[in-house]
Symmetry: C2
Subunit: 405 residues, 2 copies
């Protein structure tokens, strides 16, 4: 049995290799935040569109603007209302930040370096040519790609797409993820609980994880452990970019899933993964739809969600699918040598007096303890056969808040 | 003028002191992720509800289960289908993970330590009392508070609320933030651009920032620089928990906002903040509605959004409002001594060979350059009068991705 444990990285790589990004859709700019660009965004104008003032002051000719000179103020150029004329010798135009620098002027005299009186302005500090002018195209030029395909759009990117005059964006469709909890013993919160049963927590927790990762989650009705019921759901799998099941992945149980899905042409992979918590995993395909079968145990399901499902949603969304980013932190306690399973220790984080991020793994890591997972800030990663470490040693940890889960 | 610059922390503290959390609303569990609990969540059941098996195997009496013993298998106890009888002397019950440990049994024999044959099972490894049993209430007990008021709910928390049988949650309402861009010179993307004008990027960038921070954003039609138009919008401010304006905050311009809002009972604060970019800020109240006036410059508006608006939304949402968390990183280049304004340098991040996070500030930090902001990963913070630093020195930085902006 020991021999057929699949390493975590290999399992993830095999899953991601079978997934392709969703096709494009057009969304309004205002709906673009958090979406992944299917096509790059090109600037449709040049910004600034002309040389503009970087400050409030006076547009002047530097050659006329030595300290002590007095200039005639012949107009104003606020942002949005260019001065139509030309600044001639001995002349100045009142200008404001963002105002177009008028013809003839080649510098801006700061208002704090000027004394204005009736129709004139006195130069109190010599002005150099080019000072306080933002050149045309300083931010971006028409035709330039301001945001590349594959980028997950931030609020700042929305600003840049707007400023470059793009009211529409081509983004990858949100991957639609069906979530199917199976089991005779589970009930939805508030529903009657069967004798000996428990309340189902996986489907809605995974739905929240899917949404936080940029997917659309569709929570399917709970399927009892019955091949007919599961097959009925499976027949609708074509509606999804990925079908996630939870439960029915233990030894023995997976036969049920396999049997139920067999009629729908399910090509089954059943993997025992060298990880804790959450070792059994189903990976296969129902027609064209990939199927990821997570364990029924809530902690295992969520940790497998972090390890496999989030990268899968990233790949489907048009992002590089990769292991969750980790951060180097310091373990607050000694850690024992690890066995052959990659371990994911639920840990809380704190900052010590030296500003170091300290991780304290929960003392009991039993995989049934969901409250311990909810209270955790991070998963401390322990590679297979990682050596024992003293308190104060560095370890890698997945920051759960950074994943939005 | 130098004397009346308000420090960033003081300005933020004054803003937050005037804000109170929104009232509660009831939402379905499935809608709770990312929301902030207005009331704690109490477990409505005990989990596990009884002593259960932690593994697949056989429920046995430890005193009968020394290596070599053979036990009669008298029933099965899968999860959700408890065995109704009692395990008597010399007996065992087939049990699966999560199955209730039947009366009489006090330990679980692992299936890998057992040899099953027709109606019996042989014990291949002596079983100790209590082994592989999860005690009733190990995860949580009925009546215990599993999630406290004030918590921003994660996917894991949704799982815990579900598992503890809570179909509904009491959360703070999403703060509704009105966003008003003002200016004669701005046009929406795709609309005709007035001569000398620019495309408005602030409103939709700020809306994305608001949504990423847990607020509801309402983008108002652009108001021209005209007291009547601004006053008309202001008359609807009561609909918002916070009204954000952008533009009209420069010297001179703020008179317009003040005049326009005066008729609606605007109590104005106009602050010059000791920060770069983004020094001018309006803070006041229109009737009961707080008003935050951000600069019109897009980079300044977004940086002020990070520094003031995100903490304001947090406070309105029932979270502690505080400065954005920072992370200690290493500057890749020497930094000059800072002047009296707190600086926020747009920087990209990379990881060096030793795993250190390196920040490289953009060479030109002109506040009109939105593309530089979009490309940045972090804002490197430079306190007023911070001394010059060599390349390789540690600095504090705000991670923009962690804020979701």
């Amino acid at each position: 049995m020991a021999d057929d444990l699949l390493p975590v990285d290999e399992a993830r790589a095999r899953i991601l290799a079978e997934l392709t990004p969703t096709a494009a859709e057009t969304v309004a700019l205002a709906e673009g935040a958090g979406r992944v660009l299917a096509r790059g965004v090109t600037a449709r104008l040049t910004q600034p569109p002309a040389d503009v003032s970087a400050m409030d002051g006076y547009a002047v000719r530097a050659m006329d603007s030595a300290e002590g000179a007095t200039l005639a103020v012949v107009g104003t150029a606020p942002a949005g209302r260019p001065f139509g004329g030309t600044v001639g010798p001995g002349e100045a135009v009142r200008i404001f930040t963002g105002g177009f620098v008028p013809d003839g002027a080649d510098a801006v005299l700061l208002q704090e370096d000027a004394t204005a009186s009736d129709g004139t302005v006195r130069v109190n500090e010599t002005v150099k040519a080019g000072r306080h002018i933002r050149r045309r195209g300083l931010d971006f030029a028409e035709g330039a790609e301001v945001l590349p395909a594959g980028r997950k759009l931030t609020a700042r990117d929305i600003g840049l797409a707007a400023a470059s005059n793009n009211p529409w964006l081509a983004v990858h469709r949100r991957p639609r993820i069906g979530i199917l909890a199976t089991g005779d013993e589970i009930a939805l919160p508030g529903d009657p609980i069967p004798p000996g049963g428990i309340v189902s927590s996986n489907a809605h927790a995974l739905a929240a994880l899917v949404r936080a990762s940029g997917g659309d989650a569709v929570v399917l009705p709970i399927a009892p452990d019955d091949t007919h019921a599961i097959a009925e759901v499976a027949a609708t799998a074509h509606a999804f970019d990925l079908l996630v099941t939870t439960g029915g992945a233990s030894v023995g149980e997976h036969d049920l899933i396999q049997k139920a899905l067999g009629g729908e042409g399910f090509a089954l992979g059943f993997w025992k993964i060298a990880m804790r918590p959450g070792k059994p995993l189903i990976w296969g395909r129902l027609g064209r739809t990939p199927v990821l079968g997570l364990p029924g145990n809530p902690v295992s399901a969520l940790v497998c969600g972090v390890v496999f499902l989030i990268p899968a949603i990233a790949t489907l969304s048009g992002l590089p699918g990769a292991a969750a980013p980790t951060r180097r932190v310091v373990t607050a306690v000694a850690l024992p040598e690890n066995d052959r399973r990659a371990d994911h220790l639920r840990a809380t984080l704190s900052v010590d007096g030296d500003g170091r991020m300290m991780a304290t793994p929960a003392q009991v890591q039993d995989s049934s303890m969901l409250a311990t997972l909810a209270r955790a800030d991070a998963l401390v990663l322990r590679a297979p056969f990682a050596p024992a470490l003293p308190a104060g040693a560095e370890v890698e940890a997945v920051m759960l808040a950074e994943l939005g889960v």
